[in-house]
């Protein structure tokens, strides 16, 4: 990716951040969740992760395959946006 060019995942960052803030039950608001902030350190629990997953699937009309259903995918807004981007094609 040439310097300065936006990755495909970038366009999903804002929506993903809002969904994580709404369904993740974190200790901080959306404005404090950086693209690479560790969501588990911000208080994302495994129970809340399920709500985030369901909300993302509904919002983007996607279904996470089993291979994407792990802690790595849900570790940050950035990794989630990457996954969404990949699934949206």
């Amino acid at each position: 990716m040439p310097h300065g060019q936006e990755t495909p995942a970038k366009k999903y960052i804002a929506d993903v951040r809002l969904i994580v803030a709404r369904h993740g039950n974190l200790a901080v608001g959306a404005e404090s969740i950086g693209e690479h902030s560790d969501l588990y350190l911000l208080g994302l629990t495994s129970l809340a992760t399920v709500n985030v997953m369901l909300a993302l699937e509904n919002h983007f009309d996607i279904e996470f395959p089993d291979t994407k259903l792990g802690r790595a995918t849900f570790s940050s807004v950035g990794t989630l946006a990457e996954a969404v981007s990949e699934l949206k094609g």
Partner: protein, 627 residues
């Protein structure tokens, strides 16, 4: 037929409790127009096993002839929604509906375990048994069902086999396949590896391969439930699937749909959980609109079994009794005991399990049920109880409800110890608890004078001191902070906090701190006035009580203990008055099965070895203490 109860021990509701009404007086705590509600614990038979439930009734003279059965969700959602469903039962009873809420086989206080076979068929039979009990025992002409999440899927499936009056489907699981996928994800999100064809461990509960397979066959859109009316209560945080509404209307059922907030908070961890009063009010209102207005006097309340036989870990028979420990303040618990009880059993100490956080007496991941039954199988009597304001020890005070560290807890511990001595003939006791339960066990060891309290077992305490308004952080963040404090102290050459010279004096002279709103607690200990772990240990040492600590490696409790009082800990361990053990691979609540089993093995082996002379085979407690 369920296993027959031993007649001499058939405790009837009318005999539960030492004074007053047979049922526990209460008031529904819905925000508007609370009406008197009575609750009674009951056991009933289903498919050869005993199930535990609660019957809620309002004014006996003005009761609808239509009863309501509440079908709880599965796994962790059942534990988390327990409080909300109790509120729903109270609100329906206050509106005149007799209500039964109960634990499906292998859940809550009922007989059975997660990995028993034929879960779906058994649970459907359980729901039919509960409805039958309402007809036969309460004289209900018709029975409706409220099902939450997976309980809603069960209710719809049951209604396809046998007509029901009304059906409330609250955030229903539409497709079992999606539910299983959620559970798989929950498992993976918690770092539990999933193996093809193996059981799914999700949030402390196990779905066997067979149960998962049977669940995937459930599809509400393919069912043809038989009922007059249905209410769909959808959550507001996710878009609802319109298919179910259209499907039910296509079957000629009068269907209404409502979207309600509060679902996620209702099924959050118990200490964070919130009761969705608006959703409950909507459900009650819908039921009331379906009544023609005619009420009738139902037959007089009959005594119901409040004791049952359940299977122990080796399929041996155990007896469980629902006990009203105290009517005011309302204190409830369930006693597990061996069958038959022998002189040896009576002479062994009784074990009391205190609430872990705000989880009700079954414990996180149903840990307390498993532990109580294992201890009973080993010959001990074991009481799992709810402190006032938690679980089924319902309080009329909204201030005290669901408080993890309630100010009245030590009063409750004192009342329970007195009850066990006076009513059950118990001469010696062991207090045991996880998380906040560990805090109560520890401070009880420090503060109670009663020589009947022999020893205390503390599992993963997050604090040894509590002050109103304090916040206990997550174990992970606490562990990090404690380690930073230790490093900082080492780098700066700061003395550890264990430096007071007057602890012997404090122990002898300090009076317990008075607590708010609890004049009846004056005779009992309370939260300590000062944060002084070393001083508390000095006080505990003087009682000669044995203190046993069990920790998960990832929890901060051991670091807190040794940071604040390492010298005393070493001394007490050297004299044998304290033992410290670690359970490998465990998280704070023992959500994984293998470490959970290791914890149970360690406790049962240790107590059996010391009190019954049974070979321990090297318990985690002994091993860790030597290490």
């Amino acid at each position: 037929m369920a296993r027959k109860l031993c007649d001499p021990m058939l405790v009837r509701v009318n005999e539960v409790g030492s004074e007053g009404s047979s049922m526990m007086d209460a008031h529904a705590s819905a925000p508007t127009a609370p009406a008197p509600v009575r609750r009674a614990p009951v056991y009933f038979g289903s498919r050869g096993a005993w199930l535990f439930g609660w019957v809620h009734r309002g004014d006996a003279a003005h009761t609808h002839r239509r009863g309501v059965v509440i079908c709880a969700p599965g796994g962790h959602e059942q534990l988390h929604a327990h409080r909300a469903l109790r509120h729903l039962a109270d609100a329906l009873a206050a509106a005149g509906f007799p209500v039964m809420r109960f634990d499906l086989h292998g859940t809550g206080d009922s007989d059975g375990a997660d990995d028993d076979p034929d879960r779906i068929a058994t649970w459907l039979a359980n729901l039919r048994s509960a409805a039958g009990w309402m007809r036969d025992s309460l004289g209900c002409a018709e029975v409706s069902v409220v099902g939450l999440r997976f309980g809603a899927a069960l209710a719809a499936r049951a209604a396809a086999d046998e007509p029901l009056a009304d059906l409330v489907l609250w955030a229903p699981v539409l497709k079992g396949r999606a539910y299983v996928r959620e559970m798989k994800f929950l498992s993976k999100a918690a770092g539990v590896p999933l193996e093809k064809g193996a059981a799914i461990e999700a949030a402390g509960f196990v779905l066997s391969e067979q149960t998962a397979q049977d669940l995937t066959d459930i599809d509400l859109i393919q069912l043809r439930p038989q009922c007059r009316r249905a209410l769909l209560v959808d959550r507001d945080d996710l878009p609802a699937d319109p298919q179910l509404l259209e499907h039910l209307r296509g079957l000629g059922i009068e269907v209404q749909r409502t979207v309600q907030s509060g679902f996620a908070n209702m099924v959050a961890e118990p200490h964070l959980g919130k009761v969705p009063h608006q959703a409950i009010a909507e459900i009650v209102s819908w039921f009331c609109r379906g009544e023609a207005g005619a009420r009738a006097e139902l037959p007089p309340e009959q005594a119901q079994p409040a004791a049952a036989l359940v299977a122990g870990p080796g399929r041996e028979l155990l007896r469980e009794r629902a006990l009203c420990i105290c009517p005011r303040p309302n204190l409830f618990g369930i006693l597990s005991e061996p069958v038959p009880d022998t002189t040896a059993t009576v002479e062994l100490p009784a074990i009391v399990l205190l609430n872990a956080g705000s989880a009700h007496h079954v414990g996180p991941n149903r840990l307390h049920v498993a532990l109580a039954r294992r201890l009973a199988a080993a010959g001990f009597r074991c009481l799992r109880m709810d402190l006032h304001g938690l679980g089924d020890s319902v309080t009329a005070s909204s201030e005290l409800e669901n408080e993890t560290y309630p100010p009245t807890a030590f009063r409750d511990v004192g009342l329970v110890m007195n009850f066990l001595k006076k009513e059950m003939g118990v001469g010696r006791m062991v207090l045991m608890g996880l998380c906040s339960g560990a805090y109560y066990a520890f401070q009880s060891a420090v503060q109670f004078d009663d020589p009947a309290l022999l020893e205390c077992v503390m599992i993963n305490p997050l604090t040894f001191f509590w002050r109103e308004g304090m916040v206990v952080e997550t174990p992970q963040t606490m562990k990090l902070k404690i380690r930073q404090q230790i490093q900082s102290a080492a780098l700066n050459g700061d003395p550890l906090s264990e430096n007071s010279d007057d602890r012997e004096h404090r122990c002898a002279t300090e009076q317990p701190q008075r607590v708010r709103g609890a004049s009846d607690t004056a005779a009992f200990p309370s939260h300590p006035a000062t944060d002084d772990l070393a001083g508390d240990l000095v006080c505990a040492a003087r009682t000669k009580r044995l203190l046993t600590f069990l920790f998960s490696r990832s929890d901060p409790g051991y670091d807190i203990l040794t940071f604040s009082a390492k010298r005393l800990v070493d001394e007490m361990c050297a004299t044998g008055q304290m033992r410290v053990g670690f359970i490998e691979g465990a998280d704070h609540n023992f959500t994984r099965r293998v470490p959970r089993e290791a914890l149970l093995d360690a406790i049962v082996a240790d107590l059996s070895g010391r009190y019954r002379g049974t070979a321990t085979g090297g318990s985690a407690i002994g091993e860790a203490n030597r290490g």
